[in-house]
């Protein structure tokens, strides 16, 4: 079963931002063009699917520096998928977290649920925008734009489950860390030579809210169906009871009416008898 993932080799990354630029021109051209039209402020606040952050550790002269890559972690237990009320946020069979634009209602629950700032409500496309691992390219045998462009070959993409893939080998080698382990994220960071694993984690790993239970959306869904069932049962029950009560009242009414009529007949009969005499 294919599971796409990425290894970002921080040992090789030069900090040139070619990956950041490639993602914009491949995936957010419309938004970029619009921002250019609107001017400097709009350009400066253009949202990015992936971005680089410079980090330093230590004091002069024993100081080292690396580049943290922020990107959707394509979690196997993605909190964004769990909270989405409509199913717009979903995971493909090969592990890529995508958004179905037609189902997205813009509630932004997923934006808050993601601890990696990997999603945004985009007014230009009127849907959530996020990293798709360039699924449109991957499906036709190409690499994600950020991977293809990197002059240092620092981003590596492929099938984590395939024992012959480069990503598999890099992960198996063991010199990698993750920031999304708790959610079974599929992005790994290879540790630069100058750092230990612990040092790198200290710099890049933030504490995460615990993952939602694995029943997840099904649980909510189940609850929903139970609710529907209860409402239906209640409705049906009420209808039946109403009907029973109605019939009963009707019967009572008919009975009373019959009795009332009988009473009148007796009274009227005696009158008739009186009138004939």
């Amino acid at each position: 079963m294919t599971k796409y993932g990425m290894v970002i080799d921080l040992d090789k990354c030069l900090g040139c931002a070619a990956c950041v630029a490639a993602c914009i021109t491949e995936n957010r051209r419309q938004q970029a063009d619009k921002a250019v039209e609107q001017g400097l402020d709009a350009v400066r606040s253009l949202w990015l699917r992936t971005w680089a952050e410079r980090l330093e550790l230590g004091e002069y002269p024993s100081v080292k520096s690396t580049i943290m890559h922020h990107i959707c972690q394509h979690c196997e237990d993605a909190p964004c998928v769990h909270v989405c009320p409509t199913g717009a946020a979903f995971k493909t069979e090969d592990g890529v977290i995508l958004v179905d634009k037609d189902l997205c209602i813009g509630c932004e629950f997923c934006v808050s649920a993601c601890p990696f700032n990997a999603r945004i409500m985009d007014p230009v496309i009127r849907s959530i925008d996020k990293c798709t691992f360039c699924y449109h390219r991957v499906k036709v045998g190409k690499e994600p734009a950020c991977v293809e462009v990197c002059p240092a070959h620092a981003r590596v993409f492929g099938d984590l489950e395939n024992p012959f893939s480069e990503v598999h080998a890099l992960v198996a080698e063991g010199n990698v860390v993750q920031i999304s382990e708790e959610y079974r994220g599929k992005v790994y960071y290879k540790v630069p030579r100058q750092f230990s694993k612990e040092e790198l984690l200290k710099l890049i790993k933030k504490p995460l809210p615990p993952p939602i239970a694995t029943i997840g959306r099904d649980w909510v869904k189940g609850l929903g169906w139970v609710g529907v069932g209860l409402v239906t049962a209640a409705s049906v029950g009420l209808i039946i009871i109403n009907e029973i009560n109605r019939r009963r009242r009707e019967m009572v009414a008919v009975k009373s009416a019959k009795e009332a009529l009988k009473g009148e007949e007796k009274t009227e009969g005696s009158r008739e008898e009186k009138e004939v005499k």
Binding site: V43, Y60, P151
Partner: protein, 839 residues
């Protein structure tokens, strides 16, 4: 993947339309249909060459619906940039579609130079006016007062056309900013050792090196992709030592970062030489065969015997052959002695190497420690590691006009590489294909300016040693203001200056803009023509502004691939029709020559033909029938390559890397380096000829030990942000977006800031002790910089009233006074101290 019927019909229709247009001889339109059209996404993939930086990477533009969507690496251009591009390359799209671009020719409609008061003009009208002006100037004998300042674009993209134009007009008074402003000191330094040293002439063999020392360069951060795409993926395969006062992107990749005092790298390298020579760790065989280390020198200091070797076209000298027990020409010796004192013909002679050893005796690691702030044990250890972990190399460097000792640093780098036998060999320093040709052809001889040249005359008057390399833009201040009297054949040249600025931005990228303002506004300047794509900070000083086309709109001629050890041709093919009423410079030059008259037109093509190595008639015919495309076709035919293959692939390899590596070895074996002797020169015949010490010695930087952080006085450092290139990208909106915020601020060491009571992000005054300019800017605190240094990224500070996307940041060129180095005339951009004061 399915192809829809609609896609198929669309493509068919497009192809037919394109073919039709071509057949009707619509000569300036190259049908995109003939480029590779992908049925997969019905986009056209047009091969071209990136124009965002001087590296000229081979790229492909993806065009759909007439719009350039993406820039990708060209897989066919693998030898140059291995299919990769950088952020600037990607955002070339936003140069093409930049809203502020110059949209039509402009002519001054009033106001003074410096004021944006222009009106729209017609090309044909302007061409006629300029032709008349230039022709009359030439005929009056004022040709030498036609001058030009180019940016790197003028060289990398347009050189043959620029040179042909200016030579036709009878002037050599031309320079490009990147000469004394960038590579010339480095180039001349390397040249005194190994015969060449311009960016495109050589490259470190990153694929094979085992121990690399990078000095005064940020190869990872400034990212010339032909270098970066080799350096990056190979990280981890070699030990990397980086000397830099700042923790640059390259220093961050290092196994050892050496925070050396600015401008003292020469002392470090001299001490390395001292250790390697004294401990005998050098490559004896290499020195004996490929260098003039064994050259016999008289007591007077002159070579014992030196004569013209007509076969090699070089100077041959004598060595002591230990096998024969006598002095013979080096080429005839079996076993040249590296050291020794000998008696030849009753005269006492000594080897150059023995003299060299004596010369560097005082440059011990302990001596260097005092100067560089690097512990002596570290210098010793690195010297030993460097000499014994082969192949090892001192990196080629790139830009270095920074200090008065810059040229010597690179001479030292050449000699250190020679000591470990790495010049022209695997894992060391390789000559590119053009480097090999340049070597054999003694390139710098053609590069020297004649006596009549104004720039070299000015350098000579300033006592600059290598003044015949007269490519100093600083000269223009004195020339344009009339402070320097320019003479040809002893007589002052009459008339005023006509200045052409081509893809240069002196007001923002050349040092001391106040002086440039004075020069441009001077009465001695009658016309300024500024050719650019954007309304830069310099354009308001022009009289005529001519809009060039961006590289994505141009059919440039055929170039040889540079920088890399492969013989190949590449070219630009239009990815977009020109969006505005702009004209590619090549066409401008030709139309101008045409308007000047037949005599000029023919002279122009004759010179162009000799520069491009194509029959002038063929070039002329080609241009007249199909414009620049026709010119290209004539080139292709002359070079024996298929034009159509080039148009499809964008890149044609003629001889691959293994061939050029072999050629490197041949140049070495056959003594065909571009030094006067044809060998690596420990004893520099060039320096000797210029009346200098032929070996090497220590010169401190001007700012040596003058910083005092406790008083807020610092060494000023600069270096590229990885997402920027010079000032030409500062206003690119999307490049701004992907640039780290810190690059718009001045960097300072955290603990220094703390002692000065300064806080991260606060506003400070940055005051230059050289120009007295005071600039308000924000502070960025970091541990990755020496306590006595501050750092600024130089691409920013744009002030043009016509720019929508002014990046802010710090105008670096305001901080550096107009200076010139003693050896080559470099701009001394780090020979300046700054004061930082909190607001």
């Amino acid at each position: 993947m399915e192809v829809s019927r609609r896609d198929f019909l669309k493509t068919l229709g497009l192809s037919c339309a394109a073919l039709m247009l071509h057949e009707t001889g619509f000569s300036h339109f190259v049908p995109l249909a003939k480029a590779r059209i992908s049925l997969l996404d019905s986009a056209a993939y047009v091969p071209t060459i990136c124009g965002m930086c001087p590296s000229c990477c081979s790229i492909t533009a993806r065009v759909k619906g007439g719009r350039v969507e993406r820039i990708l690496g060209n897989p066919n251009g693998y030898p140059t940039n291995r299919g990769r591009v950088c952020a600037r390359g990607e955002m070339g799209i936003y140069r093409l579609y930049h809203p502020d671009r110059l949209k039509y020719p402009l002519v001054r409609a009033g106001g003074e130079r410096g004021e944006w008061v222009f009106k729209k003009a017609e090309w044909s009208h302007l061409v006629q006016i300029m032709a008349k002006h230039l022709r009359e100037k030439f005929e009056r004998g004022e040709g030498p007062k036609i001058a030009a300042i180019g940016g790197w674009v003028a060289w990398d993209h347009y050189a043959p056309f620029v040179l042909a134009t200016l030579h036709t007009l009878g002037t050599t008074n031309f320079t490009i900013v990147p000469m004394t402003g960038c590579l010339l000191p480095k180039t001349v330094g390397w040249t005194t050792s190994i015969g060449l040293g311009a960016h495109f002439q050589f490259i470190t063999d990153y694929d094979n090196v085992k121990y690399l020392i990078v000095v005064k360069r940020n190869v990872a951060g400034s990212l010339a992709v032909p270098h970066g795409c080799r350096f990056g993926p190979n990280l981890g395969k070699f030990k990397l030592v980086v000397l830099d006062p700042r923790l640059s992107e390259t220093a961050a990749k290092a196994d050892e970062w050496i925070p050396i005092k600015p401008g003292t790298d020469l002392a470090f390298l001299l001490a390395m030489m001292n250790v390697i020579v004294n401990e005998g760790l050098y490559d004896v065989g290499y020195l004996a065969r490929y260098t003039n280390a064994p050259m016999l020198v008289k007591k007077s200091g002159d070579p014992y015997k030196i004569y013209e070797d007509k076969d090699r076209g070089r100077h041959e000298y004598y060595v002591w052959d230990e096998a024969l027990g006598k002095a013979v020409p080096h080429g005839a010796a079996t076993s040249p002695a590296l050291e020794g004192v000998f008696t030849v013909d009753g005269e006492e002679v000594i080897t150059a190497f023995a003299l060299f050893k004596e010369k560097i005796k005082e440059y011990t690691p302990a001596w260097a420690e005092e100067i560089t702030d690097v512990p002596a044990e570290t210098i010793e250890r690195i010297a030993r590691e460097f000499a014994t972990t082969r192949p090892s190399a001192i990196d080629t460097g790139w830009h270095d006009p920074k200090h008065v000792n810059s040229a010597l640093i690179w001479r030292a780098a050449g000699l250190l590489n020679a000591l470990v036998g790495s010049v022209c060999r695997e894992g060391g320093i390789l000559f590119s294909a053009s480097g090999v040709e340049a070597s054999k052809g003694m390139w710098w001889k053609m590069f020297l300016k004649p006596e009549s040249d104004a720039l070299s005359q000015w350098l000579k008057s300033k006592g600059v040693i290598a003044y015949p390399f007269g490519w100093a833009y600083q000269a223009f201040y004195d020339l344009l203001t009339g402070k320097f009297e320019y003479k040809v054949n002893g007589k002052p040249v009459p008339g005023k200056w006509t200045l052409i600025i081509l893809g240069a931005n002196p007001m923002r990228s050349q040092m001391d803009p106040k002086k440039w303002e004075e020069a441009f506004k001077s009465d001695n300047v009658e016309v300024i023509v500024d050719i650019d794509i954007m309304p830069s900070d310099t354009t308001p000083y022009a009289d005529i502004i001519l809009p060039d086309c961006t590289y994505l709109e141009r059919e440039d001629f055929i170039y040889e691939a540079e920088y890399v050890p492969t013989v190949a041709f590449m070219s630009r093919f239009k990815a977009s029709e020109p969006l505005y009423d702009c004209m590619p410079f090549e066409a401008m030059a030709i139309e101008l020559m045409k308007a000047m008259g037949n005599e000029y037109y023919e002279k122009f093509f004759n010179i162009l033909g000799s520069l491009l190595k194509v029959d002038p008639e063929a070039l002329m015919r080609g241009y007249e029938s199909e414009g620049l495309v026709g010119l290209k076709k004539a080139q292709a035919e002359a070079y024996g390559i298929s034009y159509y293959k080039l148009m499809q692939d964008g890149y044609v390899v003629v001889k691959d890397e293994s061939y050029v590596r072999e050629e490197n070895l041949k140049v070495l074996e056959e003594g065909l380096l571009a030094t006067p002797s044809g060998r690596i020169e420990f004893y520099s015949l060039i320096l000797k000829h210029l009346g200098q010490d032929p070996f090497i010695g220590w010169i401190p930087p001007m700012t040596f030990n003058k910083a005092d952080p406790s008083q807020g006085i610092f060494y000023l450092l600069y270096g590229k942000a990885p997402t920027m290139v010079h000032t030409s990208t500062g206003d690119n909106p999307l490049l701004q977006r992907v640039t780290d915020e810190s690059f718009f601020k001045v960097w300072m060491n955290k603990s220094t800031a703390s002692t000065l009571g300064l806080k991260d992000g606060q506003v400070v005054y940055l005051e230059s002790l050289g120009t007295n300019e005071k600039i308000a800017c924000k502070l960025h605190l970091t541990n990755g910089i020496r306590p006595d240094c501050v750092y600024v990224a130089p691409a920013f500070g744009q002030e043009s009233p016509m720019f929508t996307f002014k990046p802010g940041g710090i105008p670096f060129n305001k901080l550096v006074p107009l200076q010139w180095g003693p050896v080559v005339g470099g701009v001394l951009t780090e020979e300046v101290l700054v004061k930082v004061v909190g607001l």
